[in-house]
């Protein structure tokens, strides 16, 4: 029987040198998914996750137990990811980052492994990162990773209504950008589908709140 999360965290606070590492291993897949989905780049995601884990390690004593340990960890990871996203936006591409990419290519390691992701997921991830960060975080948790709205609200520290609102706005913004990816089940390929996609892209403008006059 594995000790519960809270027990591991308590051991960590009491000085057990391995307890926190165990906690990380236990939840790393989900935490990783949050980071890599938010940042879109494995390298950035690993940096964010490492920052978050070190931060959680140090701040464990201030965890008050009013939420689940996993919720607390998720919150730290998503905040670290959003911090990194903001920094990336402020300094889009540094030369050393370019260099790292080139190094990776030279060493035969393509950074984002193209075989591991479909075109669709690359596109979706790229579009997702153009959303306002609060909308992106909500969509990553709720739509991509399937967290219940209540859990997402707790992780993000906002009300459920706010999560729903952010998800709705984010989906509306994504819609025209994803129109070309949308699989329309039962619809024959060809002009019909193309026309329909075009109409979605043209008529549903992102962020338009007022509605079009007809």
């Amino acid at each position: 029987m594995q000790p519960p999360d809270a027990e591991l965290l308590r051991r960590h606070i009491d000085g057990d040198p391995d307890a926190f590492g165990e906690l990380f291993l236990r939840h790393r897949d989900r935490l990783w998914a949050v980071a890599v989905r938010t940042l879109g780049d494995p390298e950035e995601a690993a940096d964010a996750l490492q920052d978050a884990m070190i931060s959680a390690f140090r701040r464990a004593g201030s965890f008050r137990g009013d939420s689940a340990v996993t919720t607390w960890l998720h919150r730290i990871v998503i905040n670290a990811s959003l911090d990194r996203l903001r920094r990336m936006a402020a300094h889009p591409v540094t030369s050393s980052a370019d260099e790292r990419v080139l190094d990776g290519l030279a060493a035969g390691r393509a950074r984002p492994d193209p075989s591991s992701a479909t075109d669709t997921s690359l596109d979706v991830t790229a579009e997702l990162r153009r959303l306002p960060h609060d909308q992106q975080a909500a969509l990553v948790l709720v739509d991509m990773l399937g967290y219940p709205v209540a859990d997402a609200a707790e992780i993000l520290g906002v009300s459920q209504g706010t999560v729903k609102s952010r998800c709705a706005r984010g989906r509306a913004r994504l819609l025209p950008r994803l129109a070309h990816l949308r699989k329309a089940p039962g619809e024959p390929p060809g002009p019909g589908r193309a026309r329909r996609n075009r109409s979605a892209a043209e008529n549903v403008l992102p962020g338009r709140e007022g509605g079009d006059p007809s």
């Binding site: 040198p17 926190f20 590492g21 990380f24 790393r28 897949d29 990783w32 998914a33 890599v36 494995p42 390298e43 690993a46 996750l49 490492q50 884990m53 070190i54 140090r58 030369s95 050393s96 260099e99 790292r100 190094d103 990776g104 060493a107 390691r109 984002p112 992701a117 479909t118 669709t120 997921s121 979706v124 969509l139 739509d143 991509m144 399937g146 209504g161 729903k164 609102s165 998800c167 709705a168 706005r169 989906r171 509306a172 994504l174 819609l175 994803l178 129109a179 949308r182 109409s199 979605a200 008529n203 549903v204 403008l205 962020g207 338009r208 709140e209 509605g211 079009d212 006059p213 007809s214």
Partner: protein, 313 residues
């Protein structure tokens, strides 16, 4: 029915119940009679499934290992801090990273050490000089900045604080430590490290690159002025041994994961190009030697071997 079409944002919020009742009623009746808006609603309803259908790449093992290593380092740091009030408390310095202030070291000396980060790393009660080395083997591009074959065993100097950060010589590199940019200068010992003798070999390298205990930092010579070549700043793409400078910097940041870097030796491991990075959390903690392959970078540790050396010494 409303004549005006409804925006996608409003339809999405309507679907989420995120719209006031009266307006929701109007939107509902519009949707009932407007094919175009109803279609937008259908499309919106598919977005979650589309997002859910994307595959998240699994976490690469080496990244897991890297974070585990960082947590281990953090554990060791915590243990040593808990060990007693005399433990080296990191001292925050503006614009630099935290240098542990060692017993017997004046605040001024600690400050000096921080300023001279490029030349000296203090650990274990001794002063390690990180020797700028061309060595014989492997360095080539960087010789544009430094005469080939020149191996400057620098003795650190009082005027070091004046030394500017020199990027681009291919010699004086930077790594990230606790969010701060810190300098290091790799050596090139030309050694061929072997698994069975790793700890002993690393200890020898450390000893070779350490000044006598009596050598006070204040007497040490400045960073090799050869570093301050006119080419400074032009050589960011140069290589040291089998490593590109950029990758090596990222690698050292990655592997050290917040610990002090005592030594970076660009050499060989089992006859293939590799680097040995020696880190320590502080004076009391054991030193760790990491052997990394040329694939090591900010994104990939490429650790080939690892050994723990006794603290101090």
């Amino acid at each position: 029915m409303i004549k005006r079409h409804v925006s996608a944002a409003e339809i999405a919020r309507f679907s989420e119940g995120d719209i006031r009742a009266r307006k929701a009623a109007r939107i509902g009746s519009h949707l009932a009679g407007c094919r175009r808006c109803a279609r937008v609603r259908e499309d919106l309803a598919r977005v979650p499934a589309l997002l859910a259908s994307t595959e998240a790449p699994p976490m690469p093992e080496h990244l897991t290992a890297r974070i585990q290593a960082a947590l281990s380092t953090e554990s060791a740091r915590r243990a040593s801090l808990d060990a007693g009030p005399d433990s080296a408390q990191p001292e925050r310095r503006a614009g630099g990273w935290s240098w542990p202030r060692l017993p017997g070291m004046s605040a001024r000396a600690a400050g000096w050490a921080a300023a001279a980060a490029a030349a000296v790393v203090v650990a274990g009660g001794g002063t390690y000089l990180i020797v700028q080395g061309q060595g014989g083997g492997g360095t080539s591009a960087s010789s544009a900045a430094v005469p080939s074959g020149a191996a400057h065993r620098t003795a650190a100097g009082a005027n070091v604080p004046a030394a500017p950060a020199v990027r681009g010589t291919g010699q004086q590199l930077e790594y990230q430590r606790a969010g701060k940019t810190t300098e290091f200068t790799p050596v090139a010992s030309d050694k061929n490290y072997l698994p069975a003798k790793l700890a002993a070999q690393v200890n020898t390298t450390l000893t070779d690159h350490r000044t006598p205990a009596s050598s006070s930092p204040a007497k040490a010579a400045p960073l090799a002025t050869a570093n301050l070549s006119p080419k400074a700043g032009s050589g960011r793409s140069s290589r040291i041994g089998g490593f590109s400078v950029g990758a090596l910097e990222g690698c050292v940041s990655r592997v050290s994961a917040g610990a002090m870097v005592l030594l970076v030796d660009v050499a060989s491991y089992q006859s293939t190009p590799a680097a040995v990075i020696v880190t320590a959390v502080n004076k009391q903690s054991p030193k760790e030697a990491w052997v990394v392959g040329t694939g090591c970078s900010a994104s990939d540790s490429d650790v080939l071997n690892r050994a723990t050396l006794p603290p101090g010494g």
